[in-house]
Symmetry: D2
Subunit: 97 residues, 4 copies
């Protein structure tokens, strides 16, 4: 019943270097215990919907402490009865190349 999301978050009011803020979010994600993969444009996370979305909310809550404007993008892919997709989706594509 798990869902896989790609998630990015960054402030708009802190200038062009946003990696300190991204790092705070990534830290929260890693400490959550959910499976995740950091990529150049966001982090993929796998878990139950409530778990992953609570995690996104905690990242936003953290950035709100000192950021006046925060932008977030999420794409979510739910597939019934299949988990471990944070690994298997890439493998499934690679096998077909």
């Amino acid at each position: 019943m798990s869902v896989l999301i790609h998630f990015s978050i960054f402030p708009l009011d802190k200038g062009k270097s946003v990696s300190p803020y991204v790092a705070r979010a990534v830290k929260i994600i890693r400490e959550s215990g959910l499976k995740s993969k950091l990529g150049p444009m966001g982090t993929s996370i796998e878990g139950e919907w409530d778990e992953v979305i609570t995690l996104v909310g905690r990242c936003l809550e953290d950035l709100k402490k000192d950021c006046d404007r925060v932008y977030t993008t999420i794409t979510a892919d739910y597939r019934k009865g299949v988990s471990g997709r944070i690994e298997s989706k890439v493998k499934s594509v690679e096998k077909k190349l």
Copy 2:
């Protein structure tokens, strides 16, 4: 403290006509009482983060009843201390044209 999201949801396993499923989600959104605007590529919703994201979760929960794969996109814009942006953001841009 409100957040504004643009949200789309649709099944991947029901063929190319997905509007019956989109309509189910839009109905849930409208019955929530949150301010929303249906557009050609998704629905904009304004509210507290917990409110809007709980609503997204309820739409996903509903589609999961009979869909084996569901895709969701969300972009969220948080801006400190400003609400009513589902109306004011468009007006603010229109004034500058």
Copy 3:
């Protein structure tokens, strides 16, 4: 053969008020002659893929003149043999509510 996109663009290095920059993009979109609808979280545009994506590129080109970092989100929905969807998609959902 037309495609429908939802498109947003904004700078990251200009502080929390980005509407002057959004307005420049919206102006370019409106002057293009393509069908578009401005919403709270972006603009929906309909046209041939090459037309809409060239337009997105022109918006980016314009913001690059004075912005050092620019973020863009695009979702695109292609459906064979159907046009006028910037109007008909919303109507199709509304009819089912």
Copy 4:
């Protein structure tokens, strides 16, 4: 002047297993010579705007051959005067953890 995008593409009319179609897009991306990284929810690609967006268009063109409805998501991050970010962005965040 390079841009970094995260890109996903899939048909809506081919059922819940879309990896054969995703693989066709990934093949086109890899043969392009642009730097790319396949992830669980999409592919990150770095290059000039015209290069990356032409590549996205070629993937769409390919899927249109036998798909009646195709959905695409793109997030793009332009940063003036910095390239190699498909590697450096992750490193910059990792250093701050």
